[in-house]
Every structure is written in structure tokens, then in C-alpha cells.
């Protein structure tokens, strides 16, 4: 590989142009455009049936698009069969060959390249070292745990040194603790090899921790593409705000529009709010949604005096999760606001059911959603 990684990084590496995939009358992917850069860790996040796996299969060559084209590293790959594409896929349930050992599974792709035996041996050994499975090379897939199978699948796909690695729900079958470790391992391996990763997942946490950029997909189309923080802090629509993380959403009416600023009235949040807004908004729209994430609201049973804006409420329900507690607070107009609070001290004044509490927030944490 070349050394000028920095300069090539922003070159479009994978270009998906107007891809659609129909199954009879059903449109799985609907005229999708996407550009992914070299060395990027890109996630496609969507619920099941959103078309994300179909798009992945189109990129791998396992499905032919109804229209559109796939260009990888400057070459049109739309009609190239999967066995000639510089792309490898890690399947959701790993699809390890049950009649072959771990070594043979990993070596399979290299054998198809007619690589000399000695070279295969050293490359497979190297790859098994990377995924920490050197001692398991003679095992059969049914003698491996879920995490080990996942790493064999990863090694088998990576040993071919693909230009792009496609991962279909790479961690869906792992338990929570293993997921976190695997996420870090995946990122490390990706950085070490510099391969472009495209991950398809329904798990927003997985997408958040792994990716440089996320595309949120729904009904065969992308709703928003951007870095995880942008998707989380500046969701473009109510759907995305709700799909990625938790959020409180309340109806509000527009009082006045100024340049970069909008004044709205939101009864649930205690009346008038002035919000920075540099997007455009149609003149005839009067009602709008005001949103705030649960962790961006402070909760206390007394006022400290430094609050800018606050409202009163009554704790209707709360859940203790160890590291944090989640409160459901009923406001004076009967709406429920969800608030999460870090449990920062071992002994803390406990806020409990039916307590009267004050909710406060930084005005900049309020979010305007038009769609």
C-alpha cells in the first residue's frame, strides 16, 4: 500500500449511484446514492426491512441491482460476479464451512487465488495470530464459541486483503460484554490494516462505537448521513431522533422567525424559548417539535439558583440502572419527560416516587425538528 494515506483519504473510494433493488412489487432499496472514502469505517443503520442488507448484498455482488451502478476504486463493478470483486463479506451468522477446520476456512479464499502453499500457510497463521486464534487452527466450526466463530469469519474475509470488507450485523450474536471488547478489537484491526469497513447493523450503539460515519436507512432510502455525534446531536427528523437514542419530543408553536433564531412557545417546557436555528423553514409552518435528550436535563428536588430555565414536575416512575437512574417526570400539563441522571455518589439523596422536582437545562440543548 502507498504511504500517502492522508492525501488519498478523501478520494471517493466506493460510489453507489442511483441503486435500486426491486423484489417483484416490493422496493427494497430505492434510488440510493452514497460515497464512501478509503479507509473509512462506515455504518448503515436501520431497522429490519429497511433495505440495508440488500444494499450490502448489491455491493458484494450477491444481488444484482434493478438499476444504478456500484463503482469501487474507479472500476464499475455492477455486473462483476462476487468471485471477481475485491470485496469480502462477513455474514451475520458467519457462514463458516462446517466440514473444514479453522485453518482451511481461513485458507479457502487464498486457495482459490492459486497462491503457493507455503505462502498460504504463513498468511493464514499471521491472520489467526491477529484474531488470537492460533491455537484453534485444527478445530472445526462446531467446536468454537460464538466469539471465536466471529473472529474466524473476520479472519477468513480479511486474509484476502479485500479493498472493502462488508460486515453484516457483525456483533448481533454476541453477548453484551463480548460486544464491547469486540468493538474495540474491530476498530484496532481496521486501523492496523487500513481496509475500508462497511457495517450493516440495527444496533445504534454498535454503529455509534464503531463508525466514522453513519447512514440512517429507512424504507430503502437514506435519511441522514454523518458522523455519530452529528446524527445524535443534530438529527434531521423526528424519526432519526427517536431511532438513535432516547429523546423527549413536545409540540410547540412558532411565535417569530429571525435570522438564525426562532422563538417558539412550548407549554410543556414552560413557555417561550429562543432557539438558534440556521436551517430554512417554510413560512406557512406554525407548529413544530421541540426535543431534548434525557441526559441533557438536570433533575433535583431543590433549586440551586443558577438555572436559566426550569420547570416543576412530579416523579411518576423511576428506574435504577446502577450507573444511572432514569426518571419519568409528569409536568403540570400532564406530559411525561424522561430524564437520566448519573449516580455520581455512592450515597446520594434519593429522588423517589411522587417527589416534586425541578427540571432544568441549558437552552442550547433544545433541538428544533421540522420533519
Amino acid at each position: 500500500m502507498n504511504n500517502d494515506n492522508q492525501t488519498t483519504k478523501k478520494q471517493p473510494f466506493i460510489e453507489i449511484k442511483g441503486i435500486s433493488k426491486h423484489f417483484g412489487d416490493f422496493v427494497a432499496v430505492n434510488k440510493v446514492d452514497l460515497t464512501i472514502f478509503k479507509g473509512e469505517l462506515f455504518s448503515i443503520l436501520g431497522a429490519s426491512g429497511s433495505g440495508k442488507t440488500t444494499l450490502l448484498r448489491v455491493m458484494a455482488g450477491l444481488a444484482t441491482p434493478t438499476e444504478g451502478s456500484v463503482v469501487i476504486d474507479g472500476i464499475d463493478m455492477t455486473h462483476i460476479p462476487p468471485y471477481e470483486r475485491p470485496v469480502n463479506i462477513m455474514f451475520q451468522n458467519y457462514a463458516l464451512f462446517p466440514h473444514m477446520t479453522v485453518f482451511d476456512n481461513v485458507a479457502y479464499g487464498l486457495k482459490k487465488e492459486k497462491m503457493p502453499k507455503e505462502e498460504i500457510k504463513s498468511k493464514v497463521a499471521q491472520m489467526l495470530e491477529l484474531v488470537k486464534l492460533s491455537e484453534y487452527s485444527h478445530r472445526k466450526p462446531d467446536q468454537l464459541s460464538g466469539g471465536q466463530s466471529q473472529r474466524v469469519a473476520l479472519a477468513r474475509a480479511l486474509v484476502k486483503q479485500p479493498k472493502v470488507l462488508l460486515l453484516d450485523e457483525p456483533m448481533a450474536a454476541l453477548d453484551k460484554k463480548l460486544k464491547q471488547n469486540t468493538a474495540f478489537e474491530l476498530v484496532n484491526i481496521q486501523e492496523e490494516l487500513g481496509v475500508t469497513f462497511i457495517i450493516v447493523t440495527h444496533d445504534q450503539e454498535e454503529a455509534m462505537t464503531l463508525s466514522d460515519r453513519i447512514a440512517v436507512m429507512e424504507e430503502g432510502q437514506f435519511l441522514q448521513i454523518g458522523p455519530p455525534s452529528e446524527i445524535y446531536e443534530n438529527p434531521r427528523s423526528k424519526f432519526i431522533a427517536d431511532f438513535v437514542g432516547n429523546i423527549n419530543m413536545f409540540a410547540a408553536t412558532i411565535l417569530s422567525k429571525q435570522t438564525n433564531k426562532i422563538v417558539v412557545n412550548c407549554p410543556t417546557l414552560g413557555g417561550q424559548h429562543e432557539i438558534d436555528f440556521d436551517g430554512s423553514i417554510a413560512d406557512d409552518i406554525e407548529s413544530i417539535t421541540l426535543a431534548i435528550r434525557p441526559e441533557k436535563i438536570m433533575i433535583d428536588n431543590q433549586l440551586s439558583g443558577s438555572e436559566n430555565t426550569y420547570i416543576k414536575g412530579i416523579v411518576e416512575d423511576f428506574g435504577y440502572f446502577g450507573n444511572l437512574s432514569i426518571y419519568r417526570v409528569k409536568t403540570s400539563d400532564g406530559n411525561i419527560i424522561q430524564v437520566s441522571k448519573q449516580n455520581r455518589y455512592r450515597s446520594e439523596r434519593v429522588i423517589s416516587w411522587d417527589d416534586e422536582v425541578y427540571l432544568s437545562w441549558e437552552p442550547s440543548n433544545l433541538l428544533l425538528l421540522t420533519e
Binding site: Y83, A95, F97, P98, K112, E113
Partner: protein
């Protein structure tokens, strides 16, 4: 104390039941397989007699020696002395082997095609494989006689199209026997193969393609190796009945089509030489059982080595 007793009683009764249930199929095999086998084995060690039954008894009573056991290996020696038997065994194995090969070659693509077709079509195709069983086996063999005879359907058709100008001699030849065998046993090859191929995970094939294997290599590396249990099951289901087949060679084969089944029939009913006929049957059984036992032992060994 009494509750302990009754609970022990319950587990004891349960265990007895379990043993009893396992025992029933063994009893069945004991009665209807092992017993006849032992009787045949016994007869194979006797001399023929012109009497009722037509063989010497195993236990002989006489005034001088009291009770004695009489056995002879003559029947087995006779089998090896007369080359007719050896030729017939070889011929039977050859016929069964070639039929099995053809069944596999024809049956595999059919089973694969059925397993890969969409669900509603799949059921119709499977039904079509099974439908011939609804017609008597004998009738179907007679139908083949009608097709294959000199003035039969096949020759008529070939003459009409002008491919041949002389009718082919098909009926009462080995070719006719092969056609009949392959036709009759094909479903026994297709069904176990289908059951196996239908379970095959498509993603494995996709994974192989993704790793650079062309369609033919995917078949060679993944599909076929994973279908071997089905291939073995199908081959055994065809080979074992084919080797002892009587009806098809008798009806479609010529006088020179030597098959064990026919030889057995002749020894029993024409020569009335029960001891030799029994020896023929025992040798045939050994010919079938020993390779299977050996095969299974090897398979178990492989399984053990894997663990």
C-alpha cells in the same frame, strides 16, 4: 418413609417402561430377522436330502453315538468350485454398482433442482418423483417390456424418426435390465439426496463465491462434500436391493443375465437344493454386511479423531 418408597417405585417403574419400549423393536428384529437368518445359516451347513424337509437335520440321534451334531462345509466349497456362482456374484455386484452410479448421476441433478426450486413447485416435483409408487411395481416392469420389445414403442418411434432402419434388440438383454433397474431405483436415490440438499445453507455457497470460488468450485468444495451423507444413504438404498433383485432381470433380462436373485430362485424351486441355496444367500449377506460394517467403523473412528 412410605413416600420415599412410592417415589422409588415410580422411578423403577419408569425405567422398566423405558427398557420395555426399547426392547420391542429388538424383539421384532430378533423374531423376524435373526431367527430366519439362523435357520438359513443352519440349513447352509446341511446336506441335501430327497425328503421333507429336503436337508439333513442339525442334531442327529442314533443308537451308537447318542446325540451328535452334523455340519458340513460342502455347500460353501461347492460355491467356490463351480465358477458359475463366482461369475454370478461378480455379475450381480457389477450390475448393482453400475445401476447405482447411473442413479447417482441422474438423481443428483434432479434432487438438486428440486431442492433449489421455489416452495410450491418443489412439492409438485417431489410428488412427481413419488407418483410411480402408486402403480404396482410389476405393472411398471411389464410396461417397460412393452416399450423395449422389438415392435415396441421405443423401436417404433426410432424407426419413425429414421434414426435407425433396423429395430434394436433391447428386450432380454443386459441393457434392458439396466434401464429397468435405474428406472425402478431412481426415487430411492433422489429422496435421501433431496432431504440432504434441501437443508444446505445458501449462505455457505454465497460465502464461497464471495471468497473467489466460481460456481463449479462452489459445488465441488461446498455443496458436494456437505451432501456426502445423502449420497451414501442414496447409494446404499439403491445398491442393496439392486444386488439381490429378482423380478427385473427375470422379466427384462435374457437367459444369459446371471443374477444372484435368479440363481437363488432356481436353486430353491427348480433344483430343490435348499442347503446350496442357503449358502448362496449367506454369502450374499456377508458380501453386503461386511463392507457396511467396515465403513461404519471407519466413520466412527473419524468422528472420534475429530474429538
Amino acid at each position: 418413609m412410605s413416600t420415599v418408597l412410592t417415589s422409588m417405585d415410580a422411578t423403577f417403574r419408569e425405567r422398566l417402561w423405558k427398557k420395555f419400549i426399547v426392547f420391542i423393536p429388538y424383539l421384532w428384529l430378533l423374531l423376524f430377522f435373526l431367527t430366519p437368518f439362523l435357520i438359513v445359516l443352519k440349513i447352509s451347513f446341511a446336506d441335501p436330502l430327497v425328503a421333507q424337509p429336503p436337508f439333513t437335520p442339525l442334531f442327529q440321534k442314533s443308537v451308537e453315538t447318542g446325540l451328535s451334531i452334523y455340519t458340513t462345509f460342502d455347500n460353501y466349497l461347492y460355491l467356490f468350485q463351480d465358477s458359475l456362482y463366482l461369475v454370478t456374484y461378480i455379475n450381480s455386484v457389477k450390475l448393482a454398482f453400475i445401476s447405482t452410479c447411473f442413479c447417482l448421476m441422474i438423481g443428483y441433478p434432479i434432487a438438486y433442482g428440486i431442492a433449489r426450486s421455489p416452495q410450491p413447485t418443489r412439492n409438485i416435483l417431489l410428488l412427481m418423483v413419488v407418483v410411480p409408487f402408486w402403480i404396482s411395481f410389476l405393472l411398471r416392469v411389464y410396461a417397460w417390456m412393452g416399450i423395449l420389445k422389438t415392435k415396441g414403442l421405443l423401436n417404433g418411434f426410432l424407426l419413425w424418426t429414421g434414426i435407425i432402419d433396423q429395430p434394436l434388440e433391447l428386450l432380454y438383454t443386459d441393457t434392458a435390465v439396466y434401464i429397468g433397474m435405474i428406472y425402478s431405483y431412481l426415487p430411492f436415490m433422489i429422496l435421501p439426496l433431496y432431504a440432504n440438499l434441501e437443508k444446505l445453507d445458501i449462505r455457505l455457497l454465497e460465502a464461497a463465491a464471495d471468497l473467489g470460488a466460481r460456481p463449479w468450485k462452489v459445488f465441488k468444495d461446498i455443496t458436494f462434500p456437505l451432501s456426502i451423507p445423502g449420497v451414501i444413504a442414496g447409494c446404499l438404498l439403491v445398491f442393496i436391493p439392486a444386488i439381490g433383485e429378482y423380478v427385473i432381470p427375470a422379466l427384462l433380462g435374457g437367459a444369459d443375465t446371471l443374477m444372484i436373485g435368479r440363481l437363488l430362485f432356481d436353486e430353491f424351486f427348480l433344483n430343490r437344493d435348499w442347503p446350496v441355496a442357503s449358502a448362496v444367500a449367506i454369502v450374499l449377506l456377508m458380501l453386503l454386511v461386511l463392507p457396511i460394517v467396515y465403513f461404519q467403523k471407519r466413520q466412527n473412528q473419524e468422528l472420534l479423531e475429530q474429538q
